[in-house]
């Protein structure tokens, strides 16, 4: 039984890795196979997977995860500035620091549950965001954002080579982290993150988290102290967010405070919900859909719409352009908001639930038909 489980995990992981690593190939027909977008898929994928460990498993709705994303980004850029352009120290230090910050925020916030937890995390998000703009300017460089500079020390790099001309780029032992190599690095991280998430979902720990979601009181009556489990989940998801933030800095070495705004946390909630809360693949699905649509919708302008509706008679073409244009380009957020509301209203379990419902409908139909026949 255990062996079987292990084998099925292995199969899942192999399939998942193949799907992720071959993304540049199978996304080709969709026109989404350029590295910039692929990197976003992987990075936000990690963010959403991590968020899902907290929100999906325990049901605690946090608006503070952008903090850890921001902390990850800042740490990574500082690591590039002070230590080395190599991404390994940047990623490791980001994850650790994000974990520490998450431990602090989580320790305080998790003393309350439900809506109070949400508001506490919201308060923390605003606090960190405001501080990043004001007092912490020496660390965050305020509104300009933290950037690399020529005079940065880069201690470890200097041990091996002298400073070259121009700004160095991020690298992994000489392999530049831009374009496809950047994507593959993010993809490998995504696979690692997915593996961790898979293990958590199938572990007794994951089961306890689910129990907390379904009935925390009963869980407490059976003698479990739920808070350590919640805190662990919070820290893990914070570390995932830190990793995502670090990877953002790896693919584009600058960090700004707007990454920490609470509405940025809202975005990850959205992705998680759209795909399916508490499911293993749902958040990833949500990320791919949202980032892909964002990419398409925000690039569309009126001229593009004109050609798109070219097949219609000209009066209808113009009306269609007028109707559709508020929803594309700058108006992408409007579409996003509407989509989000639609999902929460009609399909709270996200797209994954939609699939399951459809599947169930077809299966139950067959079953009832067969039972009817037996009855005759």
């Amino acid at each position: 039984m255990i062996l079987e489980k292990k084998r099925s995990d292995l199969v899942t992981m192999i399939l998942f890795s193949m799907v992720v690593l071959s993304m540049p190939i199978w996304l080709n027909p969709l026109g989404a196979n350029y590295p910039d977008l692929l990197q976003k898929f992987a990075i936000f994928g990690i963010f959403a997977i991590g968020y899902n460990i907290l929100f999906g498993l325990t049901g605690y709705l946090s608006f503070g995860h952008a903090i850890f994303l921001g902390v990850g980004s800042y740490t990574a850029v500082w690591s590039f500035k002070l230590l080395s352009m190599n991404v390994i120290p940047a990623v490791i230090s980001s994850v650790i620091l994000a974990g520490i910050v998450a431990a602090f925020v989580g320790f305080v916030s998790l003393r309350r549950s439900g809506i109070y937890f949400s508001i506490l995390t919201l308060a923390f998000a605003q606090m960190f965001y405001n501080l990043a703009y004001s007092v912490l300017t020496p660390i965050t460089n305020g509104e300009t954002g933290l950037q690399l500079a020529l005079e940065d020390p880069r201690v470890i790099d200097r041990l091996f080579s002298t400073a070259g001309e121009g700004l160095p780029s991020t690298e992994l032992f000489g392999l530049s982290m831009s374009g496809y190599s950047g994507f593959y690095f993010c993809a490998v991280m995504l696979i690692v993150a997915f593996y961790v998430s898979l293990k958590i979902f199938n572990s007794p720990f994951g089961l306890k988290l689910k129990a907390i979601k379904s009935n925390q009181h009963r869980m407490k009556y059976t003698g479990y102290n739920t808070r350590p489990y919640l805190l662990t989940a919070f820290i893990i998801s914070g570390m995932f967010a830190g990793l995502a933030g670090a990877l953002m800095a790896v693919t584009d070495p600058l960090a700004g405070a707007e990454r920490m705004q609470w509405t940025a946390s809202g975005e990850v909630v959205l992705m998680t919900i759209l795909g399916g809360v508490g499911t293993l693949y749902g958040p990833l699905l949500g990320v791919v859909i949202i980032k892909y649509l964002e990419n398409i919708f925000s690039a569309v302008n009126e001229a593009v719409l004109q050609t798109f509706f070219d097949f219609l008679p000209s009066w209808l073409q113009d009306t269609m352009v007028v109707i559709v244009s508020p929803f594309v380009g700058e108006g992408w957020h409007l579409t996003l908001g509407l989509m989000f509301m639609g999902i929460v209203i009609f399909l709270p379990g996200g797209i994954t639930e939609g699939f399951q419902k459809m599947k169930k409908r077809f299966f139950t139909k067959e079953n009832s038909e067969s039972s009817n026949q037996e009855g005759k």
Binding site: S118, A123, L131, Y133, S134, G337, M341, P348
Partner: protein, 338 residues
């Protein structure tokens, strides 16, 4: 002394805005049991009522400018000025206070439609889902406004007569230099008026009595044969009007832009939580308290002592209150203490 008085007034001003929004939030939460993240958007819509009204009043036509004689110059002249002369100009000048009359029916309608169309279906859903759907709604409203009004703040000046400052220093026998903008004083008085009338409405009318009873025990009121649902729909409309009016009057203080709602939303949630979920008095008290705290924290003496405190004080207070006194300052025992 002067500085302290100024900060106190500043704080009361900010606090008035927080209190008005938080009042609506609490009303909705207390009666409908819905956590409304779109409440900040209602505040923003109120401010844009003022903007729209001002725009309508200043619809202009191009006319020849007679003051320039060298060549035919054109200038924009509002229709109101052409039709009514100086009276028209005066109406334009008073656009913001006059827009209150437009804002009341508009906000009431928006509130009722929102409740009937969306919120009603979320009574039985979890708080998380209520937060999410109203958050989505807030984004939608915000983006619609941005589509029509653009992303930049739109200046909506107060009437000329009150755009100067009041010499409160000489009234109180203090320094002559102590002045404060008239409009802010008016805003303060207006807020006080609204808050009092909401409380009077709840305390003195039969409708208010039913609402209070409904906040206490909705089921029981329903058993007594009262259509609670209908009353609560009206309460939602009322909350929308309160938020809207706060927005209208705030427009001259802070030029409205499309995301001002989100900024105020977080703060007013904090206010509600500090005051105690479901406690109207708590919301108002906490609103003023936090407003005053925030403006005192932004005094240079204090920011030099503890850098950055002005940015975080409200949230810090909220965190401390939530952790030490779970039901807020004035919350009823047993209401949402988890």
């Amino acid at each position: 002394m002067d500085a302290i008085l100024i900060q106190l007034l500043n704080g009361l001003d900010k606090g008035a805005a927080y209190a008005l929004i938080a009042l609506g939030l609490t009303l909705v939460f207390g009666t409908l049991g819905v956590v409304n993240f779109a409440h900040g958007a209602l505040f923003m819509l109120g401010a844009f009522c003022a903007v729209t009204f001002q725009k309508i009043l200043t619809i202009s036509v191009k006319v020849v400018d007679p003051s320039i004689t060298f060549f035919t110059a054109y200038k924009e002249q509002p229709y109101l000025e052409i039709w009514f002369g100086d009276v028209g100009l005066a109406i334009i000048d008073y656009a913001v206070p006059l827009s209150i009359f437009m804002a009341i029916p508009v906000m009431l309608l928006i509130g009722l439609v929102m409740e009937r169309g969306l919120i009603r279906h979320f009574y039985k859903r979890t708080h998380a889902e209520q937060i999410l759907v109203t958050f989505g709604l807030a984004i939608v409203i915000q983006e619609v406004i941005r589509h029509f009004f653009g992303a930049n703040p739109i200046p909506t000046p107060a009437p000329d007569i009150v755009s100067s400052s009041a010499a409160i220093g000489s009234w109180l026998g203090l320094s002559e230099n102590l002045v404060y903008p008239w409009w802010r004083l008016i805003y303060l008085a207006f807020s006080a008026l609204i808050i009092t009338s909401v409380f009077a409405f709840l305390q003195l009318t039969t409708f208010g009595m039913i609402v209070r009873a409904g906040m206490f025990d909705r089921q029981m009121v329903g058993f007594l044969g009262i259509d609670v649902q209908r009353k609560f729909t009206i309460v939602f409309g009322l909350a929308a009007v309160v938020a809207g009016l706060a927005g209208v009057m705030y427009a001259p203080i802070l030029p409205p832009d499309y995301h001002m709602g989100m900024d105020f939303l977080v703060l007013s949630f904090v206010v509600v939580v500090v005051g105690g979920m479901g406690s109207l008095g708590g919301a108002v008290a906490a609103g003023f308290l936090l407003g005053i705290l925030q403006s005192f924290a932004s005094m240079t003496v204090i920011t030099e002592l503890v850098p950055g405190i002005d940015q975080v004080i409200i949230y810090l207070v909220a965190v401390i209150v939530l952790l030490t006194r779970p039901r807020g300052l004035m919350g009823r025992k047993g209401v949402m203490e988890d």
